[in-house]
Amino acid sequence: MSRVRYFVFSLGLPIIAVILGLTSGSSYALWSAQGTSEDLRPQHGVLGFAVTKDSVVHVSSSGGAAAFTIGAAEATVLFNSAVDSAGKVWTAVPFDVTMLTSSQCGMNYSLSVAKPSPASVLGSGSASQILFPVQDPSSCTVAAGANAPAYPGGTVTGIAPGVAGVQTQVDHWCLVVSSQPYRYENTASASGTSASGSVWSTPGPNSAWWTFVFPDPGLEPDVTITATPSKDSGCKL
C-alpha cells in the first residue's frame, strides 16, 4: 500500500469521521421556530384606452393615441344618398371611447378629425364633420346632428381620480359627415344654317339637364379620427 493511501485510510478517515460527528451533533442542538402566512397577491395597477368603430377595437399602446378611419364605405353611402334641398348628402358614424383606470388614477381624453381632401367625396364642396356625444349608438343619426351641441374641441372629462379599485367608462360618440357634390348642368340646343343664315333652336323644357358629380367613392382616401388619452397629474402608472 502506498504511503498516500496509508495516510488516507489510517489517519484521514478517522479525522473526517470525528469532524462529521461533531458538526452533526452540534447543529442538531439549535432551536428554531417559524410561521408562514397565506399567499400574498395584490394586483398591478393598470390603465386602458381604446376606440371602437364597427366592432373593431383600436387599443392605445402605452398611453398613446387610439384612432380609426372613415373612407370608401362612408363615401359609398354618401354617393347613394339622396341630395337634400341644400344640395348635400349626409351620413352618421357612431363610435365608442372606452377607458379603464386603477390605483386611484383618473383619465381624460381629446378628439380630433382630420380634414378630408377637396377632391374626395368626404371633402366635396362645403363638406362638414359634426362631432357630438350620444347616450347610445342607436341615437347617432343625421337628424340628431342637426340640433346636438357639437364638440368644441379640447379635453373631454373621463374618469375622475381618487377612486379605489378598477374604474371603467364607455363614452358613445357620433360623427355626422356631410358632402356637397358638384352639380353639372347641361342645356342641349341645335343649330343649323339656312339660306338666310344660322338659326338656333329654342331649347325645350327637356333640353336642359343636370347631375351631381362625385369623385369615385371606391378610391376614397381615408380620414383619421384620433382619440388621445391623458392621465391625471397624481397618477403613478
Partner: protein, 248 residues
C-alpha cells in the same frame, strides 16, 4: 495476529543476510525479493492489506458515532448539582396580518389584498402580529423575514414593535434580507410583537391593457411571508457577542 508474527520472524531471520541467502523458514521475505513463476505471486501481506481498510472504516464509524454522542452529551448533561432546572423554550406563532398604502389611503387584511391595485412608487406596508415564547439562560434568538416569490422590482425593509413602540432595531429599519437579534431584556414566556414590513414597487414595464377585454394585469406575486426565530450561538459562553438590535 498470525500474520504479524510471521513478519517479525522473517525480519529477525534476515537482518544480516542478503535476500538471496535466505533459506528455510524465511520464506516470506524470500518471496518478496525473488519473485517466482508461481501463480501465487501475491505474498500473504496482500491478505493483510485487504483487511486493513475494513478495520479502518469500522474504526471511523465508531469515532463518528462517539463524536455525535459527545456533542449531544454537551447539551443534555449541563446540570448543576443541587440546583432547580427549568426547561428553556423557543416558540412562535403568527397572528393577524394587515396591510396599508398611505399614497392611496387604502388598508385591509390579507383577504382583501387581492383587490388592491399597486402603482409604481407606492409603498405597501404589511403588519404581521406574532406571539413568541423565549425562555433560557444564554439563549440568543434572531428574527428574520422572507417572502417566497418577491419580484426583483420590489424592495423592502422591516422592523419590530411592541405596544406600538419600535424596539428592534431601536430606530430606523433594515433590509428584509437582514436578521435581527432580539435583546435579552425582551425575552419572556409570552410576548406579543408586530413585524412591520415596507415594500416599495419600482417602475417595471407597461401598465396599459385593452379595456374592452380585461380589467387587470397578472397579479403581483409576493408569495408567502415567513417569520423565523432562530437560536444563535453568540453572547456569554460563545466565541463572540450578540449584536443587540443588529445582525447576529
Amino acid at each position: 495476529m498470525a500474520v504479524l508474527c510471521r513478519r517479525a520472524y522473517a525480519r529477525t531471520q534476515n537482518q544480516s543476510a542478503a535476500p538471496e541467502q535466505v533459506q528455510g523458514t524465511s520464506d516470506l521475505h524470500a518471496r518478496r525479493s525473488i519473485p517466482t513463476a508461481s501463480t501465487d505471486t501475491k505474498p500473504r501481506r496482500g491478505i493483510k492489506r485487504s483487511r486493513r481498510p475494513g478495520i479502518l472504516v469500522a474504526l471511523s464509524t465508531v469515532l463518528m458515532v462517539a463524536s455525535i454522542a459527545v456533542t449531544y452529551a454537551l447539551w443534555s448533561t449541563h446540570v448543576t448539582d443541587g440546583a432547580i432546572v427549568t426547561a428553556g423554550n423557543l416558540s412562535m406563532t403568527l397572528g393577524d396580518l394587515r396591510w396599508e398604502c398611505t399614497q392611496q389611503k387604502e388598508s385591509g387584511t390579507a383577504s382583501t389584498l387581492p383587490d388592491f391595485y399597486l402603482a409604481p412608487g407606492n409603498t405597501l406596508t404589511i403588519r404581521q402580529d406574532i406571539t413568541t415564547s423565549l425562555v433560557g439562560d444564554n439563549l440568543s434568538v434572531a428574527l428574520s423575514v422572507e417572502f417566497s416569490t418577491l419580484p426583483d422590482y420590489v424592495s423592502g425593509t422591516w422592523y419590530v414593535r411592541q405596544d406600538g413602540i419600535q424596539f428592534l432595531p431601536k430606530k430606523g429599519s433594515v433590509p428584509i434580507s437582514q436578521a435581527l437579534v432580539i435583546p435579552h431584556e425582551m425575552y419572556s414566556a409570552e410576548s406579543h410583537w408586530e413585524i412591520v414590513i415596507d415594500l416599495v414597487v419600482s417602475p417595471h414595464g407597461s401598465h396599459w391593457v385593452d379595456p374592452t377585454t380585461t380589467s387587470s394585469a397578472p397579479p403581483l406575486k409576493l408569495g408567502t411571508l415567513t417569520v423565523i426565530a432562530q437560536q444563535e450561538r453568540c453572547g456569554d459562553g460563545f466565541m463572540g457577542p450578540c449584536l443587540t438590535g443588529g445582525t447576529p
